[in-house]
Assembly symmetry: C2
Homo-oligomer: 421 residues x 2
């Protein structure tokens, strides 16, 4: 994409009312716009990042047999009353509204109930199990205070996967499969090293659930990390019996602030019994379905990436989620110059080779272009100027590096040569 066509612009200062670092930087770089407290627009660069995060998650969900669907936000009370989650005294984040008839409807803050009900259409026999289905869907949560930028908002896309299994054992086995997929996801998203599988409270059917907590000053949780075992314990369950259960000693733990980027939960038969989702086993006996739910908030992940990886100059995107792979910068203002022509040709060739390029073809100073490039945070910067051509080619620099090098156009193109796949 030509930067001269990109309608967003960078700005030097963040809005005064925005205190979270992730929102400050993302607004300054033109990735998001604050629409109201707790609701952000994703602008061209920001939407590209969000989509790439979702693509990584989708890829790993498909790999473990997930089938993608999407449910509506609008929710009628019936199924929620059966699980005792319609009342605002039980669930305090409901947004509710009403139809013209006066009937109350809510905006889904999660989707266990409608997922379970929908599966009643399709699950009858043991032969129909297991089923794994997920969605990327907009949740609404009436948070008392919206803060932390895009890490906690009133409206956000969530990836929620639900599993439907024959037995407790099958469910627990799949739970482990998802746990491993989540580890892969956070590694691919560039925050794996700082993300810990964290023991949290499990509810009626399991001793524990697991959160994926990423060490982050802007996080709202506190976790106790055991470096030797590479696990953590949420502060909420830091009890002597849990320590004993996990075989760790309090003195071997270090406390960190962290943000919950994902969670996995054995639901047991809580929802299937309440909503009568059952199957006939091999003997023809009706059995409740065993369920699990597994969430990741792509926007929170995006916020955490910004909090963790950005530096004094601006954003720093890991390769898999960067809005573009290459930031190509032409420093010549004379369109007939060799440098300008080389930059144009390089843009065409890289684009033809399916490399995603943001091409800074604007009439700005070198200083302004470099500052914008650092702020936007694309992994590789390629500068074409009279000077670079005299030195033998184009100047490449990684966003995280302080040094640059000159390579020929051919060398650069070769490094991006793609296989036919």
């Amino acid at each position: 994409m030509r930067q001269s066509q990109l309608y967003t612009k960078t700005r030097k200062e963040a809005p005064a009312d925005e205190i979270a670092k992730n929102a400050q930087l993302l607004i300054r770089a033109g990735f998001i716009n604050k629409e109201m407290a707790g609701a952000y627009a994703y602008l061209p660069l920001g939407l590209r990042v969000l989509n790439k995060i979702m693509d990584v998650i989708r890829d790993e969900m498909n790999t473990i047999g997930g089938q993608e669907i999407t449910l509506p936000a609008l929710q009628e009370p019936e199924v929620w009353e059966k699980t005792n989650r319609w009342s605002e005294e039980v669930v305090d984040v409901w947004f509710k509204t009403e139809l013209k008839s006066g009937a109350k409807v809510g905006l889904g803050f999660t989707h266990e109930e409608p997922f379970t009900r929908m599966m009643k259409q399709f699950i009858r026999s043991y032969k129909d199990l297991p089923v794994y289905a997920y969605q990327f869907q907009t949740k609404f949560r009436n948070e008392t205070r919206a803060k932390s930028g895009i890490m906690r908002t009133r409206e956000f896309i969530m990836k929620d996967l639900y599993s439907f299994c024959r037995t407790k054992e099958d469910q627990e086995k799949y739970y482990e499969v998802v746990k491993e997929a989540y580890v892969k996801i956070f590694n691919r998203l560039g925050i794996g090293e700082k993300t810990y599988v964290t023991f949290a409270s499990g509810g009626v059917f399991s001793k524990y659930s697991h959160e994926f907590q990423t060490i982050c000053d802007a996080g709202e949780d506190e976790i106790y990390i055991h470096d030797g075992k590479r696990i953590a314990i949420n502060k909420e369950v830091m009890l002597p019996e849990v320590l004993a259960d996990l075989g760790v000693k309090q003195e071997d733990l270090r406390v960190e602030k962290a943000s919950e980027v994902g969670n996995i939960f054995n639901l047991g038969t809580r929802f299937s019994e309440a909503l009568e989702l059952s199957y006939q086993d091999e003997e023809g006996i009706s059995q409740p379905v065993w369920m699990g739910s597994y969430g990741i908030g792509p926007a929170r992940v995006m916020g955490v990436i910004v909090e963790l990886l950005s530096d004094a100059k601006g954003l720093v995107w890991p390769a898999e989620v960067a809005p573009f792979s290459v930031h190509l910068i032409s420093l010549s203002k004379d369109k007939d110059s060799q440098a300008a022509k080389t930059a144009e040709e390089l843009y065409t060739k890289l684009t033809d080779a399916h490399v995603e390029v943001l091409f800074d073809d604007r009439e700005e100073s070198a200083g302004a272009k470099f500052a914008d490039s650092d702020l936007i945070g694309i992994p590789m910067r390629v500068v074409v100027s009279d000077k670079s051509l005299q030195a033998g080619g184009v100047e490449i620099k990684e966003r995280t590096s302080d040094t640059s090098e000159i390579v020929t156009v051919e060398q650069l193109l070769k490094s991006f040569a793609q296989n036919c796949d």
Copy 2:
């Protein structure tokens, strides 16, 4: 995808309360699930179709310079009060709810206001124009009666594009560009022949707006078609002066029921003046921005495709929107048979060649498999059986054809051979 893994199943009867043909067929084939009146879930096959419709639209929006973004559904009153669209007496489809503070918020039924406000961040000078930006975003509309299946719902994704131009002339020129893009879109989506550019009321800034109306018995509109000029007039503006203006005679028009699949609207300066979106021209004088808005509802398009193209046996998908390109059916129940092995190999080879295949590997009768295949409506059916192998290969049949032919596996693969692109 293996059909044995697909969790949805076809059903012989549609639910009794579903009167629209599109919803009946889509539910029977397992593409959608009715969650409440006016809100449907898109299941694996249905979501694939919806995404393909959106991909076609996205492609054409990008071609005409559209930049994709996404705005939230949650809306604060302020900007809507400035354009006099917050009041339910003016706009009767609002869903409204409230924050914990008691502050009222609405769920966007359209997005002219927030789009205009957001652009104030980025449009200052004539150099910043034009800007074209669009989104695929969930709208909420409190319809009194939800009917017509997925063609009119209370919650639906809309593609809404907005243009921001320097002058009336620039705006009108881009309006024509979008009009042509829409013609291309509906052609690609397989409903171009039955879709008419239809004159509708224009508001303060233009004599007319244009709707894209597709002839369809389930449609809610009536249009008067002039076959010679290939245009139509919405019943609402069938007035003598309009006929004179368009140079057509009433007796040359035929009336048809139709469904509005898209619309384009010159907004003039209505929103930019109300919300103070202006730019400095070359002389430094402040000027209001000229705007247009352009909508397409992908789910309504999907519903219209079903209404128009399906037959007595089930759904019929045009190539660009089909959930899969090939429905591969193995008729052998013996996994060690030559037919079963050939089908497995063919599935692998087609998938490796990036052909999207639904592989019916289930243990069902040939009759049940053929009936399901017709109901699901994938463009090409490929049957592998002992009989087909004896006849020299596999049996291919188009969904819309009554005749089949035998081709060799090599011939089939060659027909799908893809270039490295």
